[in-house]
């Protein structure tokens, strides 16, 4: 455990989306699955999590094409119970338009399972259209992570970003990839 990074003031971020899932695995296994590329590629649409696990360390989510989808920073790192990272998507103009995003994973023992809670918090109030991206993606990612840890196989679910989110981003002047 290290002191939180001074880069952001966590209290300024308001939780907007909170998802909880029970997983029959140890806290250490869930932590490993959340922080290692080998695991994340299997449940997170092929995206690789590359984390320097200390406050102030880099937190990269690399797209299958090798580009940095998210170039974040570790804010709080308390293995295997709490990880807070900045989660700013690298689309040109996105952070300027939306402000910054924080994601926190909390892992608590619950009998023989663990309770994993993901909180997405934002610096500025955002519309439901913008938030629909995370609200569509996280349940799939977390369910797939659960399946991978419990059965050895992820879920084969393919989703694309919701049209309402893309339209809202475009209206805010964010350049969309592709």
């Amino acid at each position: 455990m290290t002191e939180p990074s001074q880069a952001v003031d966590i209290s300024k971020f308001k939780p907007e989306t909170v998802y909880t899932i029970y997983i029959a695995a140890s806290p250490e296994r869930v932590w490993e699955a959340l922080t290692s590329a080998e695991f994340s590629r299997r449940y997170f649409y092929g995206f690789a999590v590359e984390a320097d696990l200390r406050a102030g360390g880099d937190f990269i989510v690399r797209a299958p094409d090798g580009s940095e989808h998210i170039s974040g920073e570790v804010i709080v790192c308390e293995p295997p119970h709490r990880l807070t990272i900045t989660w700013d998507v690298n689309w040109p103009g996105l952070v300027e338009a939306l402000g910054r995003t924080l994601v926190t994973y909390e892992i608590e023992a619950a009998g023989e399972a663990v309770r994993l809670t993901m909180t997405e918090a934002h610096e500025r109030p955002l519309s439901d259209d913008i938030l629909s991206g995370g609200r569509q993606g996280w349940p799939t990612i977390l369910s797939s992570l659960k399946s991978l840890l419990e059965t050895g196989k992820p879920l084969a679910v393919k989703t694309s970003p919701p049209a309402r989110m893309l339209a809202a981003l475009k209206a805010l002047g964010v350049a969309l990839p592709g």
Binding site: T20, R29, P139, S143, K146
Partner: protein
Amino acid sequence: MRVTSRLMHDKPADGSAVWRSRRTSQELTCNHLVAYRRPMDEVFKALADASRRALLDRLHARNGQTLTELCDGLAMTRQAVTKHLTILETANLVTTRRHGREKLHFLNPVPIHQIGERWIRKFERAKLTALGELKKRLEEGDD
């Protein structure tokens, strides 16, 4: 006598202790029903009540509300709302987080997503989405 019976209870007759010891270091149960069955009972019980579904609808319309906001305009007492929220939290359909001095309630759709994963086949999803959209468009057209 009592000690003996407690010792016997420590070793369940169904062999679950043996099953536990056989689990791999990876903590795989290899049986998703073990982790699935009990929580799902709670989900269906929680959903089988119109007041609780109304609370979920309110959170779906606007996520992250305080108890006071959730009670506003409802024909339910604060105590009744609190009771329903506890049941929804137990079923993992609602999660709370503190933000400053406020306790915010969030809709947690993960258990409902898991119900979908269990009964909707992969190839059916696109068709169901298309049908859902069609129904929505036709109903909106009635206005």
